[in-house]
């Protein structure tokens, strides 16, 4: 589904190279986790895949179901089925959360040549999904992420994911800033979306999120590369020995 080959990326502004040849394939129906120390390039990978400005791809490719992602505008990638749950969801004063969500859902439908969702139908679906994430009507009326707590912001990301029904979900440190209860709620939201046709890439520092979202494959990223790949037991190894042990082993 998601196929990243030999991806090299540097910052546009200066010559700092961040990704130094990432190779990764996420199959449909699978959950892959990427773990790694600070500065290893995990978040950069998610930004580059979703089309954020400020990065220059110097080599390699990334495709989703065969479609070359790196050539597309961010909105085209979204329409193609890619979704990034942000580590720091953006506040947008003046734009109502509900308006935002409906605009996004209908924009994607339109670009795929599907019919737009009516206001009534949309409301029904969003209410149901919001309820399972414990997002109340008040939160839907407020401007996007403005005045939301850390947990509310992350739940709002998962709600967007549930409404947009992407093929490929990237979760960038969705566990950061969450207490145990909030993390469980978010993980339940993610697990509810797991399906045969959908792939997940879960980026995290810690093993604890992976207790709730069970990965099929775990990758360790360091210095802009994937240095080790294994099963769920790899995450436990990180938890027990830290990154230092694993890195000294592979480098």
């Amino acid at each position: 589904m998601l196929e990243i080959k030999n991806l090299h990326v540097k910052l546009e502004e200066d010559d700092k190279v961040i990704l130094k040849g990432v190779n990764l394939t996420v199959e449909a129906g699978k959950v892959h986790a990427i773990m790694g120390p600070n500065g290893s390039g995990k978040s950069t990978l998610s930004y580059v895949l979703s089309g954020r400005d400020g990065y220059e791809v110097t080599d390699g490719s990334a495709s989703l179901d065969g479609a070359e992602l790196l050539e597309m505008e961010p909105e085209e990638r979204a329409a193609a089925g890619l979704f990034l749950a942000f580590q720091y969801p953006v506040e947008i004063p003046g734009v109502g959360n509900m308006t935002f969500l409906r605009t996004a859902v209908n924009a994607q439908r339109k670009s795929r040549g599907e019919e737009e969702m009516s206001a009534g139908e949309f409301l029904k679906v969003v209410r149901e999904k919001a309820k399972s994430l414990k997002i109340d009507a008040e939160m839907m009326k407020r401007p996007v992420n403005v005045g939301f707590s850390g947990g509310e912001k992350k739940r709002n990301e998962i709600l967007q994911m549930a409404m947009l029904e992407p093929k490929m979900c990237i979760l960038d440190e969705t566990d950061s800033g969450l207490d145990v209860d909030a993390m469980k709620l978010v993980a339940e939201g993610v697990n509810a979306l797991r399906s045969e046709g959908r792939g997940f890439l879960v980026i995290t520092h810690y093993q604890r999120l992976l207790d709730h979202i069970k990965p099929d494959v775990v990758h360790i990223m360091a210095d802009g590369r994937i240095v080790k790949t294994g099963g769920p037991e790899l995450a436990l190894e990180v938890e027990n020995n830290g990154y230092a042990g694993i890195l000294s082993e592979v480098l």
Binding site: P74, F83, G94, S111
Partner: protein
């Protein structure tokens, strides 16, 4: 001296080209206004109050032409609002296109008719508004206007009155002067829209009685080359409410002045504006709010979206007089600059002579938030649509000053249409 003489000469030259109304009930008020104008002269570029806006094209004897805007199949503004329409074509009242004003449940007369109650009001607030700052173009208006409406609201008006200003002649030069009086406890909504003329000079005097509520929503026409200078003079009684919102989309030159006096305790005055300009566009909001009573509240909320070299100006002042304790004054002026060629000039002022007041003011200029734009796009919202959403979000605080949701929605729709037309 030479400068002062030039201003006086300009006034005489302008007057020479006008056919001043003679006699009638307003003769004395007009004669006074004429004397004021002749003493002040017309404004010049060197006047401090015109530092950021060149008044020369507003003061010439005849106006530059302005091509007519083709709205295509866009629905007329306020079309879905149940209102009484009064139509002016190039500044001349057109009874045939207008509704019967009686349906609004207000006393209505044309300025040309001889009437009693407006005698003590016509030009009075304009004259009060000449200090501490001179506003010669308003005095010119009082002296020269031969058209306008006089509206007396004695209770809660049945419907809003919509003054529609059509522009059909490319070189028209219109002067309109309206007077509105709300008795104690009365409520009234005034809607205004349209370009009016190639050049438009308008004065609106509003006397808001104790406990009365006045709502004003206007949209200035989109003819790209039109010019306008408008003044609102308002005086508020105790516990009254005055709310005015203006949308300006395009226009080579617009100067909107609002001079508001809070003279009764516990009164509230809100003035707001949303201006969007692309290219040859100069928009100036000049606001002067005087707090002269206890516990009054005033809000000034002005937002401008500028691109391709458009210029926005805000001069806003809050004057708190001695004894006007517990004043709550708020002023914000912000611009969204969509490119580096556009500019925003702001001069916020506070002058306070009471010691127990709360006054805040702020002014900012900024570009579109790139992170927010990326976030929206990452959810599948196309670039242009995402930009429009963020522009509307920027303007939201000003639009929020419109209480009637149907009217606010009309204004939002008009803005969206403008954004769609000015995408590139």
């Amino acid at each position: 001296m030479a400068l002062a003489q030039a201003k006086l000469d300009a006034a005489e030259a302008r007057l020479a080209g006008l056919d001043l109304p003679k006699g009638g009930w307003s003769a004395a008020a007009r004669a006074d206004a004429l004397a004021r104008l002749r003493a002040m002269g017309l404004p010049g570029k060197r006047d401090e109050y015109w530092r950021y806006t060149d008044p020369s094209t507003l003061t010439t004897a005849s106006p530059a032409g302005a091509a007519l805007f083709d709205a295509g199949d866009e629905a007329p503004l306020f079309d879905g609002i149940d209102r009484v329409k009064l139509v002016f074509v190039d500044g001349v009242f057109d009874a045939a296109q207008s509704d019967d004003p009686a349906a609004a449940g207000v006393e209505f007369l044309s300025l040309a008719k001889d009437i009693h109650w407006a005698k003590g009001l016509y030009g009075v607030l304009e004259a009060r508004g000449q200090t501490p700052v001179e506003r010669p173009l308003a005095a010119l208006n009082t002296a020269a206007a031969s058209e306008g409406v006089l509206i007396h609201v004695t209770g809660s008006a049945a419907k809003p009155v919509n003054l529609i200003y059509l522009h059909q002649n490319e070189t028209s030069d219109a002067i309109l002067h309206h007077v509105i009086k709300l008795d104690a406890g009365a409520e009234f909504t005034l809607l205004e829209n349209g370009p009016a003329a190639a050049r438009f000079n308008k004065v609106l005097e509003v006397e808001v009685g104790d406990g009365a509520r006045f709502h004003h929503i206007r949209a200035q026409g989109r003819d790209h080359e039109r010019r306008a200078v408008t003044h609102i003079f308002a005086r508020l009684g105790a516990e009254s409410l005055f709310k005015s919102f203006t949308l300006t989309a395009n226009g080579v030159l617009t100067r909107n002045e609002a001079i508001i006096e809070l003279t009764g305790d516990d009164a509230k005055a809100h003035v707001a504006g949303a201006a969007v300009g692309d290219g040859d566009f100069h928009h100036d909001d000049t606001v002067f709010v005087t707090h002269a009573a206890l516990r009054c509240e005033s809000r000034q909320v002005f937002k401008k979206v500028l691109k391709n070299g458009a210029v926005g100006v805000f001069q806003g002042k809050i004057l708190v007089k001695q004894g006007a304790q517990k004043t709550d004054g708020y002023q914000i002026s912000q611009s969204l600059l969509l490119d580096e060629a556009s500019q925003f000039l702001a001069k916020p002022e506070l002058e306070i002579y009471a010691d127990d007041v709360k006054c805040s003011h702020g002014s900012t200029s900024g570009a579109i938030d790139e992170t927010a734009l990326y976030y929206l796009r990452s959810r599948g919202v196309p670039l242009r649509q995402a930009q429009s959403l963020l522009v509307l979000a920027f303007l939201a605080e000003a639009i929020a000053e419109i209480e009637d949701e149907a009217i606010a929605e009309d204004i939002r729709q008009r803005l969206e249409n403008w954004l769609a037309r000015h995408e590139s």
